[in-house]
Structure formats: structure tokens, C-alpha cells
Symmetry: C2
């Protein structure tokens, strides 16, 4: 799979640092460099590309910003091929949606189909250790929230439950998406509980879903896992729309 360069057609013309960055990417792929492999030193690149130091440095910054290399000073230092981290991919993708009018409803629409699919795919595939970890997470919010702040924390924790599950997905794309959505919700949701005080009954239902889900996953009952997660998502979706939750507009940090 080729590394994706970052150049569009109609746009005027690329600056030198950008072209150098592209050249380095191509070179990395061509040479089959793996993560951790060292790139040529600054002076070597200056010679190889016949560019000034500043230009080379700007090119390296571009690659660094994209998460593809990491640079260290000192002896044995230099730039190294680096695996793009999930955090950075999240952040970079998040910046795209900063300019789109993405709503919480949009995210939930996708969660409603993808989360059950993930749950079904994981039934019977999880280690006991991991299932215990899920239960620990549920145990971290043992009783209904007493305040808006507390409820917010519980909301974040329960999103963490889903992000945890996402790490186990065999399908890396599905896993990333669910992680992205939960993080987006955790980062960006601002409550506007204008008419909806914390509701013990709703809390209990959400909690029950998660408990039953873990049981279904343990039992290897894919169908039940799918069903439970689907109900859970449908409930959550309704809840979010009732609360008139809003997205906060900001750039995301890795």
C-alpha cells in the first residue's frame, strides 16, 4: 500500500519543501523502510536534494506534522520513520470535520449501525482479562450521577467502554471509526440539559445494556450482542436528541 502524498491537481504549484517532503515519502516507500528506520541526516539530505538547510527542515516538519517521522537530536539522532499514531490520525481527521457541519445526530446515525456490527464480531473472541477490564470500567460508575458534572464524567467513562471495545476489532477500519466517534463525542459534547435533569432510570437502563452486553460477549452469542448494542445505541441516540446536545467548535489535540 503506497503512502498517500498530499497534492491536488488544480492547485497552483507546490512549494519546494512540500515537493521535497513528497520525494522523501516516495523514497521511503521505494526503499521499503519500516518504522524505526533512520532517514538520512540533515547534511546528507542537503546534498542529496541540493537544497538549503531551511528547506530540508521545513520538509521534515511537514512529515512530522503528518505523523510519519519523528526527530531526535544528539549522537545517533536524526529522523526516523514513525507509525502514524491513532491519536494523530484522529486529530487530523477531526480538523477536517471542524469545517463541515457535523452534528451529534450524524455520529449517532453511524454508531447505530457500526457499534452492533463490532459487538457481533467480537462475541466469543475476547480474552477473560479483557472482559474483566470491561466490567471494571462499568464498575467505575456504580450509581446514578448526583450532579451535572458527575453525569458528564460518567458519560465520558461509558464512551470509554466503547473505545475499549474498538481496540479489539479485527477490522482496523471499523475499530478506528468507532474510536474516532467516541473521542469526538467525548471531546466535543457540551451538555445543554435545559429541561433534562439527571435521570436515574435512564442511567440504569444504559448500565444494564453494558452488563448484558459483556455477558453476551462472554457467551459468544453474536446475535444477542448485536441486538443489545443496537438497543443501547437507539436509546442513547434518543437521549442525545432530547438533551439537545451541541458540538463545540474547536481544533482537536492529539
Amino acid at each position: 500500500m503506497p503512502l498517500v502524498t498530499t497534492q491536488s491537481k488544480d492547485e497552483p504549484r507546490l512549494s519546494r519543501p512540500v515537493r521535497v517532503a513528497e520525494a522523501i515519502k516516495d523514497w521511503v516507500v521505494e526503499k521499503g523502510l519500516k518504522k524505526g528506520d533512520r532517514l538520512p541526516s540533515e547534511p546528507e539530505m542537503i546534498e542529496q536534494f541540493a537544497m538549503a538547510k531551511g528547506t530540508i527542515r521545513e520538509a521534515m516538519r511537514i512529515l512530522e506534522a503528518q505523523g510519519l517521522v519523528r526527530t531526535r537530536t544528539g549522537p545517533g539522532g536524526g529522523s526516523f520513520v514513525h507509525e502514524v499514531s491513532k491519536q494523530r490520525a484522529r486529530a487530523l481527521l477531526g480538523n477536517y470535520f471542524y469545517f463541515q457541519d457535523l452534528t451529534i445526530a450524524d455520529i449517532y446515525e453511524l454508531r447505530c449501525t457500526l457499534e452492533p456490527q463490532l459487538a457481533a464480531s467480537l462475541a466469543g473472541k475476547l480474552s477473560d482479562e479483557f472482559l474483566d477490564q470491561l466490567e471494571d470500567n462499568i464498575a467505575s460508575y456504580p450509581k446514578p450521577a448526583q450532579s451535572a458534572d458527575e453525569e458528564r464524567e460518567q458519560h465520558i467513562a461509558s464512551l470509554r467502554f466503547h473505545a475499549l471495545l474498538a481496540t479489539q476489532s479485527k477490522n482496523k477500519l471499523l475499530g478506528f471509526l468507532i474510536d474516532f466517534m467516541t473521542n469526538m463525542l467525548a471531546d466535543l459534547t457540551v451538555y445543554r440539559r435545559l429541561y433534562n435533569p439527571p435521570n436515574a432510570e435512564l442511567w440504569q437502563r444504559g448500565r444494564d445494556y453494558q452488563v448484558h452486553l459483556v455477558q453476551a460477549l462472554r457467551d459468544g452469542d453474536a446475535k444477542a450482542a448485536h441486538q443489545i448494542m443496537g438497543d443501547h445505541m437507539a436509546t442513547a441516540q434518543t437521549l442525545m436528541s432530547l438533551q439537545e446536545a451541541e458540538m463545540q467548535k474547536r481544533f482537536i489535540s492529539e
Copy 2:
């Protein structure tokens, strides 16, 4: 919604240009700058951040690489807030998956659920002009491919059909995902038609699906659209697995 910064916790420490880039991002959000708005000039930033010219320039390159600013020379030139383009978001996300072992099967697993969902959501919502455009696209591959090359081109064209549909999604996240997946498939699929020569019957079935789909979309029949797209995807999924298609490893260009 805040702009996502790009800093992780465990990692050593950020270089100055990266920190300056983050500071600029925060400043943009704080000031509520919109796309097209001008950032301070190089000399102004040098003063404002008390940094050297090179440092500021590297910071701007970082923001440029992330697609957040665009820079122009000349009078009235400078750096401007820029909406992250879909192309760039695709490329940046693609680089993440370069290091994950994402398979074609993974992508199809998601397409099987998301494409029907999109189709259903668009039934009865599309303009006649757009529906004609879809039909034009179908007309661009009027007969079965005679060679592997031709078949490859037709495959790309039929992926374009899906990308076209994606542009109409009201749900921006869903639209982006489908666009991302079709582009990933178009860019990265390498055929290995070891035992599968171009097959006229399969081609005819794929074509029929698209024709019927457009009809259902015209009629506003969401259920039929969902069904047809679901069948189409299931067929395509089988086809891809039969052809033992492989992902090519490379970085993606915008």
C-alpha cells in the same frame, strides 16, 4: 467545535515549531477566524511569538501540511485560514492505514453496511440533474471489458459512481467514509486475476444493480434502494475475494 491539536502525552516533548503551530491554532479558534481570514504576516508573527523567522516558517509549514492554512506570495499575500479539503483528509487518514494491516475485505465489510444506508437516505432526495449524472457515469462502461486493463478502468469508473453518491450525503461523516473507501480501493487495488478472466455475466449483474438503483432513487423508494445496494455490495464482496485482490502498500497523494 475546537480545532484538534496534535500532541500526545507520553511522547518526549514537542519541538518549538510544533508548539508555535499549536499556539497559532488556538489563536485562530479564540479569535473565531473563518476560512479565508488572514493570519498575521511573517514579521508580525516573529514579533508576536518572539521566534526566529525559520521557526515561524516551519510552524506555518506544519499548518499547511495539515491543510489548515494556505499561503500566497505577493502584495496582499500571506497566510490564510483554509478549510481542510476532502482530498487532504483522505490522504492523511490513508497514511495512518499504511501502517495498519487493512485488507480489502475489511473495507468491503464496512461498505456492505454503509453503502445501503447511504442509498436509502438519498432515495427521493436527489435532483434530476444529479440522477442524470449518475446515469451518464453508468453509460461510460456500456459493454463488458475486453482486457484486464479495460476491466480495471471500468472498475474505477464504477467506484466513481459510489463516490458520486457519497457527495450527496447529508451526513458528512457517512459521506466522507464512503468517499474514503472508494478512493482507497481505486488507488490501492492491484488485480491478481490469476484464475478469473473478465466475466461478462458478472459485469452485467453489476451494471444492472446500478441501473435499478438509480431507478429506486428516482422513485424515492428507500427500501428498494437499500436492498439493491445491499445485494450489489454482497456480490462485489464475493468478487473481490475470488479475485484475491491485494492492497498495494504506498503513501497516498492528495
